[in-house]
Amino acid sequence: MLEIKNLHAKVGDTEILKGLDLTIEAGKVHAIMGPNGAGKSTLSYVLSGRDGYEVTEGSVLYKGKNLLEMEPEVRAGEGVFLAFQYPVEIPGVSTMNFLKAAVNSVRKYRGESEFDAMDFLKFVREQTKILNIDDDMLKRAVNVGFSGGEKKRAEVLQMAVLSPAFAVLDETDSGLDVDALRIVGEGVTALRSPERSMLVITHYQRLLDYIVPDVVHVLADGKIVDTGDKNLAIELEKNGYANYVEAAA
C-alpha cells in the first residue's frame, strides 16, 4: 500500500526527516511513537502534500504511484486522509456543508455519483450514530468553538465519510478524556478493514489499547529507530524515550 524509502525532508532550512524507511501493507495498522519534535507531524504533512515541507531525497510509493508528485486534493481523491493534530477552524461554513463538499469532491474524483442533500444527510447520520456525535455538531461551523474532544471526533467523522484507503491519525488521542478516548478508539477500530491501512501517530500508549496496532515504530530525530509489535508500545510507556533520544543524538 505505502512504501517510504530514505525520505529526507526539510522545513525552511532545517532538515527534519533524515532518511526514513517505512512499508505498510494493505489492511495493516502501524503505530508511530516518539518524543516531541521527532518529526511525526512533519511526516504526516509530507505524506499529505502540505506546502513548505520540501522533500530533498527519497521516495514514497502509494498503490504503486509516486505520491510526492500529486497535489494534496489528488492525494485525497486517491484515498489518503490525514486526521490533523490541530484541526483548523473555518468560520461560517457548517460542518455539514464542509463534509458534503469534501465527500462530493472525492466521489467525483473517483468517478462515483455525487450525493444530493437528502441522501447525504442520511449517509452522515449513520456515521454520527456510530461515533456518538450529536447531530447538532453538523450545524455548527467547522471546528469553531469545538472542545478538544469534539474536534477529534469530527476528524474521525470526516475519515468515516471519506472512506480513505490510507489514513494518518496525528495524535488523535491528545486532549481526550477517558470516555472520549474510548469512543474515538472504537470508532477508528470499526473503520479497520482489509483494504484500509492506517498510520496512528501517538505520544502515549493508551490509545493503542483501543486501536491495537499490527506494528509499532519508534521515530526519533527524523528516523525510524526501532520496530516491534504492540508490546514495544508497552515497554516505551514504562521506559520512556530517553534511550532513543540519546542514541539518536
Binding site: 499529505s48 502534500g49 502540505r50 506546502d51 497535489e71 494534496p72 486534493e73 492525494r75 485525497a76 481523491g77 486522509f81 490525514l82 490533523f84 484541526p87 483548523v88 477552524e89 473555518i90 468560520p91 461560517g92 461554513v93 456543508n97 464542509f98 463538499a101 469534501a102 465527500v103 469532491s105 472525492v106 474524483y109 461551523a141 470526516q158 471519506l162
Partner: protein, 487 residues
C-alpha cells in the same frame, strides 16, 4: 504555442469566466450620440411623457451643467466623455412595448433564458415560490411577468415609463422625493436622462404575494444605462424586491448611473436585495462597467423598516451607498453588504444611516473581499440628529484579503448630536489562511472551491439575508468572481 492560438485560448477562457458576456444581435432604435437638451426632449417624446416630467428633466440637466464630478471616492478612472455615449437605445421590436409576454421578441426571450431569468410564467416549478420579473434591456423594459396576478391584490409592478402614463399621481407625488434632482452629480444626470426602470406600489395592508425582481441588461455598445426605480410601501404593507444586473464583455467602459428611491410609510417594510454582476473588465483591467448608483430609502412612517442587502461582485468601479433616512419613530434601517473585488476592480461602497426619529435603530454588516490588484473601501456615515432620542446603531465591517497586492480600507464617519443615542463600531481585517486552504485540499476540495467555500463562510451573515430563491445563485457567483485569485 503561437500567438494566434494563445489568443484564442485566452478568449475562450475569459468567456468562461464571465458567462454573461455575450451580445444579443438585435436591431436597436437609438438616439444620436451625445447629450444636450434635444436628446432629453427626444427621450421624453419617445416615452410620450407629460410636460411636467420633461420640465423636471430639463431642470435637472441645467443643474447638472453647473456641477462637478465628485473626486472624493477612493477610485481612479480616466475622465468620462459624456458626449461620446448614447443615452437611449431600445430594441426595435419593443417600440410600443409588448402587450403580453407572447409579443416579446423571441431573441430577447432567448437572451433572458441564457441569463437564467424566467420570463415564461408557466415554467415556474411546482413548490417554488413565484417570482415576478421586470426585464429591462438597455433603455427600456421589455417584459413584466405576473402583472395580472399582482393586480388582483392591488399591487402595481410595471416599468416606470408605464407608471408615468397609468399612475401619474403616484409618480408625481413620489418621484424625486427621496433623491431630489439636485442630489449629486450622477443622480442629477440620471434625473435628466433616465430611460426606464421599475415602479412598485404596494397598497395599504397588503403583503406582496410574491418576490418582485428586475433584471437589468446592458446590451448595446457605447450606451449608458440610466434606470430609475421607485418603490412605495403604503401603511402596513410588506414587499421583497430583488435586482440583478449583467452586461456583455467590451473593451470600452460603460456608464451605469441608476437611482433607486424607496418610500416606506407607517408599519410597512421593504426588503431590497441586489445581486450586482455587471461585467467587471478583464484581468488586465480593460473594460467593465462604471457603476455609479444612488440608492436611498425614506422611512417616513413610524415602525417602518428597510433592509438593503447587496452582493456586489461585478463592475470595474462601484460607487454606491444605499442609505436610510430614519424619520419615523421606531423605524429600522439595515444594510448587509458583500463586496468582492478581483483583478483591477475598485469598489467604494457603504451606507448612510440618518437617524431623525425617536428610538430608531440601524444595523450595518459589511463584508469586503479583495483579491488580485483590486481596491475595496467601506465608506459609511452614521448620523444621530438632535431628536433621535434613544436611537442606536451597530456597525460591523470585516475585510478579507486574498494575496498581497490588493487593498482594503474602512472609512466610518460617526456624527452624534444626541447624548442618549448609542453608536457601536467593530472592524476586522483578515487573510485566508494557508492552514485553512490546506485543510480543505486535504479533504479533496480543490483550491478554487476552497476559496469559494471559505469566502462564503466569511459572508454568511449577509448571504443568509438574501431571499432563498437567489441565495444559491449568489453563492455560486462568489466562487466565479474569485476564480484565478489564488495559486
Amino acid at each position: 504555442m503561437n500567438a494566434a492560438v494563445s489568443d484564442t485560448v485566452d478568449q475562450v477562457q475569459s468567456v468562461e469566466k464571465y458567462k454573461y458576456g455575450f451580445v444579443t444581435d438585435i436591431e436597436a432604435d437609438q438616439a444620436p450620440k451625445g447629450l444636450n437638451e434635444d436628446i432629453i426632449r427626444f427621450i421624453s417624446a419617445k416615452k410620450e411623457e407629460p410636460e411636467w416630467l420633461l420640465e423636471w428633466r430639463l431642470k435637472a440637466y441645467a443643474h447638472w451643467l453647473t456641477m462637478e464630478e465628485p473626486d472624493w471616492p477612493k477610485v481612479n478612472y480616466p475622465p468620462i466623455d459624456y458626449q461620446d455615449s448614447y443615452y437611449y437605445s431600445a430594441p426595435k421590436s419593443s417600440e410600443d412595448g409588448p402587450d403580453s409576454l407572447d409579443d416579446v421578441d423571441p431573441e430577447l426571450l432567448e437572451t433572458y433564458e441564457k441569463l437564467g431569468i424566467p420570463l415564461h410564467e408557466q415554467e415556474v416549478l411546482a413548490g417554488v415560490k413565484n417570482v415576478a420579473v421586470d426585464a429591462v434591456f438597455d433603455s427600456v423594459s421589455v417584459a413584466t411577468t405576473f402583472k395580472d396576478a399582482l393586480a388582483k391584490e392591488g399591487v402595481i409592478f410595471c416599468p416606470i415609463s408605464e407608471a408615468v402614463k397609468e399612475h401619474p399621481e403616484l409618480v408625481k407625488q413620489y418621484l424625486g422625493s427621496v433623491v431630489p434632482y439636485s442630489d449629486n452629480y450622477f443622480a442629477t444626470l440620471n434625473s435628466a436622462v433616465f430611460t426606464d426602470g421599475s415602479f412598485v406600489y404596494i397598497p395599504k395592508g397588503v403583503a406582496c404575494p410574491m418576490e418582485l425582481s428586475t433584471y437589468f441588461r446592458i446590451n448595446a455598445s457605447n450606451t449608458g444605462q440610466f434606470e430609475r426605480t421607485l418603490i412605495i410601501a403604503d401603511e402596513g404593507s410588506h414587499v421583497s424586491y430583488l435586482e440583478g444586473c449583467t452586461a456583455p464583455m467590451r473593451d470600452e467602459n460603460q456608464l451605469h448611473a441608476a437611482v433607486v428611491e424607496l418610500v416606506v410609510l407607517d408599519d410597512a417594510d421593504i426588503k431590497y436585495s441586489t445581486v450586482q454582476n455587471w461585467y467587471p473588465g478583464d484581468e488586465n483591467g480593460v473594460g467593465g462597467i462604471y457603476n455609479f448608483v444612488t440608492k436611498r430609502a425614506a422611512c417616513r412612517g413610524k415602525n417602518s423598516k428597510v433592509s438593503w442587502t447587496q452582493v456586489e461582485t461585478g463592475s470595474a468601479i462601484t460607487w454606491k451607498y444605499p442609505s436610510c433616512i430614519l424619520q419615523g419613530d421606531n423605524s429600522v434601517g439595515e444594510f448587509y453588504s458583500v463586496a468582492i473585488t478581483n483583478n483591477y476592480q475598485q469598489a467604494d461602497t457603504g451606507t448612510k444611516m440618518i437617524h431623525l426619529g425617536k428610538n430608531t435603530s440601524s444595523r450595518i454588516i459589511s463584508k469586503g473581499i479583495s483579491a488580485g490588484k483590486s481596491q475595496s473601501t467601506y465608506r459609511g456615515l452614521v448620523k444621530m440628529m438632535p431628536k433621535a432620542e434613544g436611537s442606536r446603531n451597530y456597525t460591523q465591517c470585516d475585510s478579507l484579503l486574498i494575496g498581497k497586492e490588493c487593498g482594503a480600507h474602512t472609512v466610518p464617519y460617526i456624527e452624534s448630536r444626541n447624548k442618549s443615542a448609542k453608536v457601536e463600531h467593530e472592524a476586522t481585517t483578515s487573510k485566508i489562511g494557508d492552514d485553512q486552504l490546506f485543510y480543505c485540499r486535504q479533504r479533496g476540495i480543490s483550491e478554487e472551491e476552497a476559496v469559494a467555500l471559505i469566502v462564503n463562510g466569511f459572508c454568511r451573515e449577509v448571504m443568509q439575508e438574501l431571499p432563498m430563491e437567489f441565495a444559491v445563485e449568489a453563492q455560486k457567483l462568489v466562487g466565479i468572481s474569485l476564480e484565478g485569485s489564488v495559486g
